[in-house]
C-alpha cells in the first residue's frame, strides 16, 4: 500500500466518524437487538419492531394516532412556551436583583423539589379537569428549572459589554437584541433542551390523570387492555417526533446562533 492510499483511507475513516453514519449504525443495532429479543420471546408482551411499525402505520392511516400526537404536541408546545416565558422573566430578575433573589430563593427550592404528581393532582383538584389546569401544572413543574438556568445566565452577563452599551447610548431594545440576548443564548438553549424532554414526560402523566385524549390517555387505555404493541407504537411515534424536532429544529437554530464561535484566529 502506498502512502497516498493510506492517507486516502484515513480521510475516509475521518469522514465516516464525522458523518451521521455512527448514529444510524447505533439505531440500526438497537432495532436488530429488539428484533432478536422479540423472536426469542415470542410473546404478546414483547412485539417485534415490525409489528409495532405496522401498528403505527395502521393507526396513522385509519386510526387516531396523528390526532392524538397533535394534541399532545400542542400541550407540550403550550406548556413549554408558558414555562420558558415566566421562568426566564423570574430567572433574569432574580439574577439581577439580589434582594429579590433572597426573597424567592426558598420558594424556588420548594418548587424544585415538589413532586410533579403533587402539583398535577392539586391543579386538577383546585382548577378542575380542564386544559388550563393541565398546561399550567406542566409549566409549573418546569418553571423552577428555567429560573435556575436563566438566573445563572443573568449573573454571568458581562459588565464590560453593559458599560459599552451604556456609553454608546444604545436604546433599551437595541441593547436587548444585540448585547443581552446573545449572551443569554446558551442558557436559553440549555433550558429549552432539558425543558422539552422534561415537559413531554410530564404532559403524558397529566393526560393520563385527567384528559380524555392525547398520547398519555391512549397509553393509559392500552395499559388497561394490556396492548403492548399500542403502547410501544405510541411511544415510538412520539419519540420520532421529538427526534425530528431536535435534529430539524433545535440543532439548526443552535448552529445558526453560535456560528460566530470557535473560529480560528
Amino acid at each position: 500500500m502506498t502512502v497516498i492510499d493510506a492517507r486516502h483511507d484515513a480521510v475516509w475513516g475521518m469522514r465516516i466518524l464525522r458523518g451521521p453514519f455512527i448514529s444510524v449504525l447505533s439505531v440500526g443495532g438497537f432495532l436488530l437487538i429488539w428484533f432478536i429479543a422479540a423472536e426469542i420471546a415470542q410473546s404478546r408482551l414483547l412485539p417485534g419492531p415490525g409489528a409495532v411499525l405496522e401498528y403505527i402505520y395502521r393507526e396513522s392511516v385509519y386510526g387516531d394516532l396523528l390526532t392524538e400526537l397533535g394534541i399532545t404536541l400542542w400541550r407540550v408546545a403550550a406548556s413549554f412556551a408558558v414555562a420558558m416565558l415566566i421562568g426566564s422573566v423570574i430567572g433574569l430578575a432574580m439574577g439581577q436583583m439580589p434582594a429579590l433573589d433572597r426573597a424567592l430563593d426558598p420558594w424556588l427550592i420548594v418548587f424544585l423539589n415538589l413532586p410533579a404528581l403533587v402539583i398535577i393532582i392539586l391543579a386538577y383538584v383546585w382548577f378542575g379537569l380542564n386544559e388550563a389546569a393541565a398546561i399550567g401544572a406542566v409549566a409549573l413543574n418546569k418553571i423552577p428549572n428555567v429560573v435556575v438556568t436563566l438566573r445563572e445566565g443573568a449573573r454571568a452577563l458581562d459588565p464590560g459589554l453593559d458599560e459599552m452599551a451604556r456609553a454608546y447610548r444604545l436604546s433599551p431594545l437595541s441593547k436587548l437584541r444585540n448585547v443581552t440576548l446573545p449572551q443569554l443564548q446558551p442558557y436559553f438553549a440549555a433550558a429549552s433542551r432539558s425543558g422539552i424532554s422534561l415537559i413531554w414526560k410530564i404532559v403524558l402523566v397529566v393526560e393520563l390523570l385527567g384528559r380524555p385524549n392525547g398520547v398519555g390517555f391512549e397509553l393509559h387505555l392500552n395499559f388497561q387492555l394490556f396492548n403492548v404493541t399500542a403502547i410501544l407504537g405510541y411511544t415510538l411515534a412520539f419519540v420520532a417526533v421529538m427526534l425530528a424536532i431536535e435534529y430539524l429544529l433545535v440543532q439548526p437554530i443552535e448552529r445558526h446562533s453560535t456560528r460566530w464561535r470557535n473560529k480560528p484566529v
Binding site: A167, P182, W260, N262
Partner: protein
C-alpha cells in the same frame, strides 16, 4: 464642521468633581478623586497622565456618564455623542466587525463613510469577520473605528494602547492621530505612559496619586505631526526636570 455641532459644544467641557468615593469589599471608604477641576478645550487632544491606580479610569467613567455616584458636575451638553475606547476592545463577539461599528454609528454615517474609516485604520478586509478571528491589535483598531463612527462630540480613550507590543502600540498611536486630525474632535485620553502622552497631547494634564486632582496643565506647542523621537525626548527631559515625581517612574 463647527456649524454641525450642537450649540455649546465649542465651549469647553467643564469637569468638576468634588469627591468620588469607592466602597471596598470590606466596607471601608476609599477616596479616589477629590477637588478635581478641568476644562477640556474643544477640538483638542487633552491627555490625563497619572500613576497607575490614581483613579484615571474612574474619572473617565464619570465623564462618560457610566458612574453618577459622585459629588460635583460634568458639563456635557445633553444629546452630545460620545465615542469611548476602553482598555479592552469590548466588541460584541456575536456580531461581525461591520455590525459592531454600524450598531453605534451616527445616523448620518453612510456605508461609504464606513469603508473610508475602515480603510484608514486598516481593517477594510476584516469587516465581514467576527471579533474572535482578530488579533488584539486588530480588535483595537476596530474599537478605534467604532469610537469614531459615532462622529463623537467627545472622544474618550482609556489607555487604549495598553498591553500591546511597543511597535503595534506606536503604529496605532500614529493611526489615532491621523484619524483624529482628519476630523478634529474634543478628545480626552488617559494614560500612564509618559512618551505616549507627550506624543499625543495638545494639553497634558498631570494628575496626583489618589485621591487624584490636577497638579498642572502643560500645553505642548509643537504640532503632533512634527513630534519625532528627538522632540519627544527633549520635552520629556524638560518635564522630568520640572515634575520629577510624575516623570521619574516612566
Amino acid at each position: 464642521m463647527n456649524d454641525t455641532r450642537p450649540a455649546g459644544a465649542t465651549s469647553p467641557f467643564e469637569i468638576r468633581i468634588e469627591e468620588k468615593t469607592h466602597l471596598s469589599a470590606d466596607g471601608t471608604a476609599l477616596v479616589a478623586i477629590r477637588d478635581f477641576a478641568l476644562d477640556v478645550a474643544p477640538e483638542s487632544m487633552t491627555v490625563l497622565m497619572g500613576p497607575s491606580g490614581c483613579g484615571k479610569t474612574t474619572l473617565l467613567r464619570i465623564v462618560a456618564g457610566l458612574d453618577d455616584r459622585f459629588t460635583g458636575s460634568v458639563g456635557i451638553p445633553s444629546g452630545a455623542r460620545i465615542g469611548l475606547m476602553f482598555q479592552e476592545p469590548r466588541l460584541l463577539p456575536w456580531r461581525t466587525v461591520r455590525q459592531n461599528i454600524e450598531l453605534v454609528a451616527a445616523p448620518d454615517f453612510s456605508a461609504d463613510d464606513l469603508e473610508r474609516l475602515a480603510q484608514s485604520v486598516g481593517i477594510a478586509d476584516m469587516l465581514p469577520r467576527y471579533p474572535q478571528e482578530l488579533s488584539l491589535g486588530l480588535a483595537r483598531r476596530v474599537a478605534l473605528a467604532r469610537a469614531f463612527a459615532t462622529k463623537p462630540d467627545l472622544l474618550l480613550l482609556d489607555e487604549p494602547f495598553v498591553s500591546l507590543d511597543e511597535r503595534t502600540a506606536d503604529r496605532l498611536r500614529r493611526l489615532l492621530l491621523e484619524v483624529w486630525q482628519a476630523r478634529p474632535t474634543t478628545a480626552l485620553l488617559v494614560t500612564h505612559n509618559a512618551r505616549e502622552a507627550i506624543l499625543l497631547a495638545d494639553e497634558l494634564v498631570l494628575l496626583a496619586p489618589r485621591p487624584t486632582h490636577v497638579i498642572a496643565v502643560e500645553r505642548i506647542a509643537v504640532p503632533q505631526g512634527k513630534r519625532d523621537t528627538k522632540t519627544i525626548e527633549a520635552i520629556h527631559a524638560d518635564l522630568l526636570r520640572r515634575y520629577p515625581a510624575n516623570f521619574l517612574a516612566s
